[in-house]
């Protein structure tokens, strides 16, 4: 199978010099790709380029062979769903968070009881909230799921749950790109490991 993303000679500037420089790599369309590396090497920065929360200062990022900047950015972000390290809940119930439409099947898919839909989102545990964020991302029917250390804020039990979920989503055909600071997680969960170093 081909590549979903390709970084071509990418540079991203920070306040004091480049965070990432001359970075080139491919991300496969199939399976889970883990981006690993020491802290501060710009893993999160690389991830944020994928849904254009940020743009490179030099070089390009390609999606399916085309420059990301040639896509409509709002449509792109629905296709490439980004879930951050710390779950962000919006005011209102879980159902409000998931947005309009019928999402009956979505909550069980991420391991939450369907009955949780009426609960206030800010009363969820952090593990439940992270699952809800995944459900909210899946509600948009994305092709790619981009995860920034999705388990770093979670307790060990929730962590295993999220890992199993991520693995099952990837088997279901989603491209999954995740940053992980945990080499064990990367090796047992990822089909491809992308090591970033200075």
């Amino acid at each position: 199978m081909g590549d979903r993303f390709e970084y071509v000679d990418v540079r991203v500037d920070g306040d004091d010099g480049p965070i990432v420089e001359g970075f080139s790599a491919r991300i496969a369309a199939e399976g889970v790709t883990a981006i690993v590396g020491a802290s501060g090497v710009g893993k999160t920065t690389l991830l944020r380029l994928l849904n254009r929360l940020d743009d490179p200062d030099a070089g390009t990022v390609l999606l399916d062979g085309r420059d990301l900047r040639s896509y409509d950015v709002l449509a792109l972000r629905r296709r490439v769903q980004f879930v951050g390290q710390v779950p962000v809940t919006f005011p209102g119930t879980v159902a409000d968070n998931l947005g309009p439409g019928d999402h009956a099947g979505l909550l069980p898919r991420v391991g939450l009881a369907a009955s949780i839909a009426g609960r206030e989102a800010d009363r969820l545990s952090i593990g439940e909230a992270q699952r809800m964020c995944l459900a909210r991302a899946l509600a948009l029917g994305p092709e790619v799921l981009v995860l920034d250390e999705p388990t770093s804020a979670l307790d060990p039990a929730s962590k295993v749950g999220i890992e199993e979920l991520v693995a099952s989503l990837s088997i279901g055909g989603l491209t999954v790109v995740m940053v992980s600071h945990d080499p064990r997680q990367a090796s047992h969960l990822a089909d491809h490991v992308l090591e970033v170093g200075r």
Partner: protein, 260 residues
């Protein structure tokens, strides 16, 4: 009937400085470190008002064509002041300038079009300056509040952007909060006018010897004008600030993302 027009000489002004000394004493006593600012404020207010007194005397004395110039100077100063207060918004003086110009022209335009006040230097300059000074406070509040709230909630903002929201949708809760913050003072002032304070225009007319009912009619026009002017200024400032804090591609600007 006693009226104060012509009754206050420069020696009286000098005596009133006693009250500034009280203010400075409070600052010293509580270590607010504001004495220097108070001194600067006192000297500046004297110099500026004296200067504008001469300018207005000249403009009202058959040189009405210069009122536009006076207003331009006022709008520019207000824009720079509000812009400095909100300097963490990129291009803040321009944002403030557009908002204040729109508010002043719009409000005076409505008053003139409805023939509520005659279009002449003696009405346009003081009314314009009132709209401006109120709107200036509102504009800098809206800009700083919106910028600081978006910086503080950038995780939430980016979570919304990541779901495909536009920058306007993603910033809406904080945008709305900033507009409310910018408008509440004038709304509250308008609610309690006459109960808590006898406002400036009315007090001025009464001190100058006008009938109270005549004075309140002017004051009502002024209050409604300030309310409208403030709302208009806040609206424009909020809109432009959002545009300055996001890129065209619905990304938070970097200065905001990396703010601590």
């Amino acid at each position: 009937m006693t009226d104060l027009s012509g009754a206050i000489g420069y020696p009286d002004v000098a005596l009133a400085v006693v009250l500034v000394v009280v203010g400075a004493a409070v600052s010293r006593f509580r270590r607010l470190d504001l004495e220097r600012d108070m001194l600067v404020a006192t000297v500046r207010s004297f110099a500026q008002l004296l200067a504008i007194g001469y300018v207005l005397a000249f403009v009202f004395d058959g040189n009405g064509g210069f009122s536009a110039g006076v207003l331009v100077v006022m709008v520019t100063t207000a824009s720079l002041t509000a812009g400095r207060r909100a300097r963490r918004v990129p291009g803040a003086p321009v944002v403030a300038g557009v908002a204040l110009t729109a508010a002043t022209l719009g409000t005076l335009g409505v008053l003139a079009a409805l023939r509520i006040v005659p279009v002449e230097a003696r009405t346009i300059v003081p009314l314009g300056s009132m709209v401006l000074s109120n709107a200036m406070a509102s504009v800098s509040l809206v800009m700083t509040r919106l910028r600081d709230d978006l910086a503080a909630h950038r995780r939430e903002v980016e979570a919304r952007l990541s779901l495909g929201h536009t920058s306007h949708q993603a910033s809406l809760p904080w945008h709305r909060g900033a507009l409310r913050t910018g408008m509440l003072p004038i709304v509250d002032t308008t609610k309690v006018v006459g109960l808590v304070a006898l406002p400036g225009a009315m007090t001025g007319m009464i001190l100058a010897g006008a009938e109270p009912l005549e004075a309140i009619r002017l004051q009502l026009v002024v209050m409604y004008m300030l309310l409208g002017g403030n709302a208009f200024a806040a609206l424009v400032a909020g809109e432009l600030t959002v545009r300055r804090l996001f890129t065209r591609d619905h990304q938070l600007v970097r200065s905001l993302r990396r703010a601590s």
